[in-house]
Subunit: 353 residues, 2 copies
Amino acid sequence: VESSIPEDLRCPRTRARRVRDDYAPPYPAWVARASKSIRQVTMAYFGVQWKDSHLAAQANAQFAQLTAYFAAADGAAHFDRAVEIDAAGFTNLIAIAYWTDTTAFSRWQADSKLAEWWESRAAAGGRLGYFRETFSPRIERFETLFSSPDRMEGIGVALQGRSEQDVMDHAYWGSMRDRIPLSQTDALEASGGVIARTGLPASQRLRIAGHENLAIIRSGQEWTDTEGRERALYTTEMEPILRAGMVFLRDHGSQIGCYVNRYMQHVDASGQPLQKTFGLSYWRSLAQLEHWAEFHPTHLAIFGTFMRIVKELEFNLKLRLYHEVAVLSQDEQDYEYINCHAGSGLLRACNPG
Amino acid sequence: VESSIPEDLRCPRTRARRVRDDYAPPYPAWVARASKSIRQVTMAYFGVQWKDSHLAAQANAQFAQLTAYFAAADGAAHFDRAVEIDAAGFTNLIAIAYWTDTTAFSRWQADSKLAEWWESRAAAGGRLGYFRETFSPRIERFETLFSSPDRMEGIGVALQGRSEQDVMDHAYWGSMRDRIPLSQTDALEASGGVIARTGLPASQRLRIAGHENLAIIRSGQEWTDTEGRERALYTTEMEPILRAGMVFLRDHGSQIGCYVNRYMQHVDASGQPLQKTFGLSYWRSLAQLEHWAEFHPTHLAIFGTFMRIVKELEFNLKLRLYHEVAVLSQDEQDYEYINCHAGSGLLRACNPG
């Protein structure tokens, strides 16, 4: 095994891990590794939003236009397509795009064609909403975890590397934090609030600033390879419990520090659903995300059900799991919503003004 | 708040707590405190066992005889009566007696009348079984926790003291270990195995030696004071889930390091059940008890259900909770079984010979 923290980011800890030095995990997991030249990445969520089904064709065309830009110079290293029907009944078709070079992302976003298209979305009016939620964590501010050594997801695909061996820092409560390099010396405490930076009163176009140490998690599962009993257990027992937890966070998360939760399904380029989903949530702090995971009945139900299935299947799972977590400094976040409904993303959490 | 570890037992830690120094628990809890002269206590479980209901009167008479001895010179500081029907269908009526002075306990146990009665149980033959399971942890080897500052249970009653304030070391995974004074400098790892010390081949009388750092927990709940919605939630939702976890440990615990589990109900002197129960379990190691609590679906279901009820009742509970946990050195344990069935207590876990 090896440490989940890359060698060049290890430093003397002023904050202890949540396990003793002799801890050994009971089963393996792997992390993505960045080449040493990568110091900051971008994880950008671009969304198209609509409600009436007759808008779908138009929305899909705009989405196809958007994703075509990813192939341009300085474009994304990798992107996924995923869809969510939100609590207000709107469809949100989102491209999650990754850059391993944030300056390349900035050049790409400033590209005249993309910028022109984005600006024209506000001018276009109409009934489609658009948003972009951009996270650019420095390398010491995020961590990943994968249940299998092959076929990475998300930022792991973009980084094109993984730990040579399985890692020692997983399968205990608190390991998420311990895998974030900055946690060696920093409590990662949240400060400040979500504020609207610029915007029209009617929220037709609103730009939002996040606060220091806002935390995000994308936590996914793929059941493509499952068969027989495992597949039945996933679809009839695991998925409904997972969904209930996701709906709780979506509808009541604000009580416990969760600003946004989207339970999303991957779709292919033609919009067909794949056998992959993920929860995407934004939190006031890593501590509040941890507290939900460790103590909230909805997550204990998810985790307990999963552990029950793991035991029944004697640890032989074809289900694939991964997550990526980032704790962002204030300057590593950017949110913009055009023509979106008031419950969209961070709009809901934002103090107008 | 104050540390759960008594002032005179605090020392520089060579092993970190599982939380940071700035951790503050979200709700209060209290611990029992011993006066400084108390260095070692005894927790003794004396059982009478029978199967056929026509033996009940005889068993109860023997049990009454036993408990009468507690009032003798050097007798128990406190004792409880509790009953369990075990997996083999036997009734086990157990007196749990506490001494705050282990030398007094030794004198009491050597007392001619008690010793004579105990020796005569083996000679009596018949169809009643008897056992005694005696734990005498030094003060640095056990911890307690109470959800209310009044009305202690178990060793807390015997010690007659509690923390002045609520304690800082609770409501996080791993806090049980962190409250045990010895854990400041010791991993409390198990070594050795359970062995039969002396005994007849047919197990008519068997004395067993435990191993280093065997762990025991008595974890109880009282619903006497609950009313209305809380009472309904306890009896219809909490108790069945708790019972399922107890049955799992009883029947399958050996797979995960649990030697013995008894889910017991308090009874009064006339045998009438009180509205109090506890789980009593013996484990190969504290680490295995921790692992069950943190990761096993049966405990996650118990804990998740409890947290759901706590939230529904907005933290206004009249349910009373407590536990006491000890990690014992080899010389602090003594087990003896007379005429008990092979699945009784540590008999099940013992390697004959």
